[in-house]
Subunit: 330 residues, 2 copies
């Protein structure tokens, strides 16, 4: 990690979605940096929260099982934090289309409520919001930088965009230090592998370990990927940066591969297994975004961040984790 | 009007926010074109609805007093409409900052609910959504075209942007013909003049007629304006256009003036009165967008629309209307 540990040593960090994939990995790192860490998670079964994610270090954490939509518990927890890593969210495309109102509740109403709580109870807090490259929709050009139009292709993208803007607005109008990272495809230990709700890479890992063919939809689409440790590094860098308030940063990978190549890489690393390429169903074609990869020069310039873990190494570590722990995730 | 009346003759048009400024003017025109018109309005005192707006033609309308947040009344009304002019909204910057959740309810939740109702009960409906140039925030360049980044500077702008995108999404994913107009400053008879909640021009009209000095904040900011009849013409053109589904169009004026010049023009037309230029308070400076005017070439190219009523003529007609009717609006 490139972050000066002194920024976080003794500090009080609050992580929403803290039992989830990124949240639990972040908690692990923050503990090592000497922070006092509180996690909030609703453990809604369809989301990414999993108590096993903090196995081995749960006793060093303050774990608060509650929903970010619960105004009163949030008020209490926000009041005593120096940093808020705001990672809770509904991330499934399909769920957002089938139940748009729950997506709106979690990704908009709850976010606004968290920010109002910060404004009224703890305006000195520093917030990092986990946004997503999905809000760009189908790219006009590649790589996609932060000046690209936001043009979401699903309800989830629209609501995430609004959630992100609330954070930037509260920074600009109320001086609550707040910034947003637009994450690309993130993978690694502790991700959801039960299904593709969080990332299709999770489902692929499960398929290969269960000796099922990996299901590749389309196959020729280009994508970039970040191993979770690189994302944690970025979260900590922008949280520690006095100049990050109001900024929006893309993350991105330095290897651009097709989905078919990713499946091949997984099969190679595993030393076995197979994949099947399938045609997109008509319904999905309407929201297919084609190729996507990010321009992440802005965060590199401002904070020095760059992805450090290669796709091959990251996938190897991920496979290794799930070989030992798959039963905890399915 | 440049729209072929046959598009609307005998058709059933539903207007949300129908007792408001633009809605009531649109209703008047649609009646003349032979449409059967239903208005929905909640008559919330802080918004633009005013029963006097349909004085003289109320008996030709079906007026339904209800809130677009009321799912059951909306289901009933949406089911039997050919066109939905979706104009209901919370428009006040200040109200959105003081009560962001009500703004979210009306500008996001209710819009999503209306679209879900169309999807499940009447997917053949054609929708025009009234969006706003406020979602662009502080322009990077002038004139602002539809390719400009959306970067709202208040809660209202964020929620209006989400509401707009829901409409485009439901067009693209569910084939519900839906498009959006990003309105610039609209003025004319039937606008709210009680305060600046809808448009500052309304408050200025009231001030000059009540022989108070017009209060000009800043003064050198450039703006463009549309007389309401030009906006009605645009709403009808895009509603009638088979190719408008999924499109977002700017409206804009062809005279670009500073706020000071606008105040001077009003004083000249009125033949009396005065204005005072005031410094922006610190709080407002944070969300000051500087100069703004629109590029409206896209709608001109696609539908032939252009503004036809000059600022001088539009202001004259507006002043004349409020001289006769001010007491109904304060």
């Amino acid at each position: 990690m490139g972050v000066d540990a002194s920024h976080f040593s003794g500090s009080r960090a609050l992580i929403t979605g803290g039992l989830g994939f990124i949240g639990s990995n972040l908690a692990h790192t923050l503990l090592k940096l000497g922070a006092k860490v509180t996690l909030i998670d609703s453990l809604i079964p369809e989301y990414g929260g999993n108590s096993f994610n903090v196995d081995g270090f749960a006793d060093q954490l303050n774990i608060n099982i509650s929903d970010v939509r619960d105004v009163h518990s949030m008020q209490h927890l926000v009041s005593s934090a120096d940093y808020l890593f705001n990672l809770a969210g509904q991330t499934s495309h399909m769920d957002s289309m089938e139940d748009p109102f729950t997506d709106l509740d979690i990704n908009c109403t709850a976010q606004l409520s968290i920010l109002e709580t910060c404004r009224t109870h703890n305006p000195k807090i520093r917030i990092v919001f986990a946004s997503t490259r999905q809000i760009y929709g189908k790219p006009d050009y590649l790589p996609v930088d932060e000046e690209h139009l936001v043009r979401p292709v699903d309800v989830n993208g629209i609501n995430k965009a609004a959630g992100e803007w609330y954070h930037i607005l509260y920074n600009n109008v109320y001086d609550i230090h707040s910034c947003a990272l637009r994450l690309t495809n993130t993978y690694g230990p502790r991700m959801r592998v039960k299904d593709a709700r969080q990332t299709f890479v999770g489902l692929w890992i499960r398929q290969i370990l269960e000796q099922q063919p990996i299901q590749v939809w389309g196959g020729e689409q280009l994508r970039d990927f970040n191993y979770v440790d690189d994302v944690i590094d970025a979260l900590l860098r922008v949280a520690a940066d006095n100049n990050s308030g109001g900024q929006i940063y893309n993350l991105g990978g330095d290897q651009i591969v097709t989905l078919r190549e990713l499946a091949e890489t997984l099969v190679t690393i595993e030393g076995g297994g197979s994949y099947e390429v399938k045609e997109f169903p008509e319904e999905r074609k309407k929201i297919d975004i084609g190729d996507y990869y990010s321009d992440w020069k802005k965060i590199n310039k401002d904070t020095g961040w760059q992805p450090r873990i290669s796709l091959a190494k990251g996938l190897e570590q991920t496979l290794s984790y799930y070989k030992n722990n798959l039963s905890q995730y399915i």
